[in-house]
């Protein structure tokens, strides 16, 4: 566990670089995290990230790709376009959440 400065905010991160404190995140931080992995945020990205944030607040765990598609209403194909190759992990990273624990 260490502290990083993202967009001028001091945030706790784990050894891989994922944020560990839900309330340390804001959209400015999200934009900076996305930039670090080569993603430029658009409204379509924010729809996914806002769903992940609110779903985590309710469920206590990070939504999987399937949950973002079925409950969040963003089609699977689109998730692979917005967050290429590894959407589950990349979405979680930008949203300041842990990697999803579920298998499906």
């Amino acid at each position: 566990m260490s502290v990083a400065t993202i967009a001028g905010h001091e945030v706790q991160i784990d050894e891989e670089g994922f944020m560990t404190v839900y309330d340390e995140w804001d959209e400015e931080v999200g934009t900076a995290l996305a930039g670090q992995i080569g993603i430029e945020m658009t409204e379509a990205h924010w729809k996914v990230i806002r769903f992940l944030r609110s779903d985590f607040a309710e469920q206590g765990q990070t939504a999987t790709i399937r949950r973002v598609a079925t409950v969040g209403g963003v089609p699977t194909k689109e998730l692979f376009t917005l967050f290429p190759k590894k959407p589950a992990k990349k979405m979680a990273y930008v949203a300041g959440l842990p990697k999803p624990a579920g298998c499906v």
Partner: protein, 177 residues
């Protein structure tokens, strides 16, 4: 203190520059409990950015045949790992042969899978297709069973023979189920 820690900012390695990895699954079984392993592993692989091909052969054809893919069943027969619910006590094999037992076991397994929010086979196949998986049907099985491409899920790319499968799986990790 903060200045040294600021320098440690870690960005996760999402492997974007890694060499392309490919996995081929061969689905040869049509039992409900034998359909899921490939689907779940393929889902995991795709979400890790791995290229996935699935080759359906023999009884695995039931997973892509639109007449059967919703009706896959689970039998207790031949499965010595069946336990009484919440116990390590084995269920006697003879019980699995009683009328209605396969329907009951199938119902129970489907419920347990649905409770985990894991989709049924047709929806799962569509999801994998959307994620970029490619599906192939085995020529010999198709001929044996008298099927055509019209009988199959639209996401099936083609009917191919074993030589073509060996060719397309070149360089892949192959998992036979």
């Amino acid at each position: 203190m903060t200045t040294t820690e600021e320098a440690t900012t870690v960005i996760p390695d999402f492997g974007d520059d890694d060499e392309e990895r490919k996995i081929c699954f061969i689905c040869s079984k049509g039992n409900l409990d034998m359909a899921y392993p490939a689907l779940i592993m393929a889902n995991g692989a795709l979400s890790e950015g791995v290229e996935v091909d699935i080759f359906f052969t023999f009884w695995g054809m039931d997973m892509i045949n639109k007449g059967t893919w919703e009706k896959l069943q689970f039998s207790m027969l031949g499965n010595t790992a069946m336990h009484m619910p919440g116990s390590t006590k084995h269920i006697p094999q003879g019980l699995g042969g009683l009328p209605g037992m396969t329907a009951f076991a199938t119902h129970m397994l489907k419920k347990q899978i649905a409770d985990l929010e894991v989709p049924e086979v047709p929806e799962f196949m569509q999801m994998l297709h959307d994620m970029g998986a490619r599906f192939w049907a085995c020529k010999m099985s198709v001929d044996m069973m008298g099927l055509t491409k019209d009988d199959m899920f639209d996401g099936v790319e083609d009917i191919i023979n074993v030589n073509e499968f060996i060719e397309l799986s070149n360089g892949s990790q192959v998992i036979f189920i």
